[in-house]
Symmetry: C2
């Protein structure tokens, strides 16, 4: 049994979209955790699933969230390399 | 040629650790981008590689960073589910 390549666009079927969300959310957190441990680095992941049943922010962070925000994200002394959905081809 | 399972702990060899960082960083951003598109959700990823050459914060965010921080992370009206390295077994 092979795996079909899926095209990366919004899944229309809500049920399938929710299943995909639950599976991939776990995968993403796992990858973040592994990268953090293997390379001894700080990582913050925030996931906000607007329409999906539990309307809450899921956070995985190796540091206290407020420390992450103030010491890293909002610290003008730290250089930042910022990418959005459109820029992803630049880093991948 | 098979793949060996690696144990998830800090890689001692700096060169290998840096290579792993560059590879896995791309993988993590790719997974975040895919999850965001497939499920139409907002995601923020912040990676801070302390010792690694470029000492800067790498951010991938589907929204403007300040909006993400103020509207989601620091919004007391939004419920938050927060996990650190120790809690990962609870979601994976």
């Amino acid at each position: 049994m092979g795996r079909n390549k899926i095209s990366i666009q919004k899944i229309r079927d809500e049920r399938i979209r929710n299943i995909t969300y639950y599976k991939r959310k776990k995968g993403l957190i796992k990858k973040a955790m592994e990268l953090s441990l293997l390379c001894d680095i700080d990582i913050f992941v925030g996931i906000y699933p607007k329409q999906i049943s539990q309307n809450q922010l899921l956070i995985f962070s190796t540091k206290n969230i407020n420390i992450f925000v103030d010491k890293y994200i909002r610290n003008p002394l730290i250089k930042k390399e910022i990418y959005g959905l459109k820029d992803v081809s630049k880093i991948i």
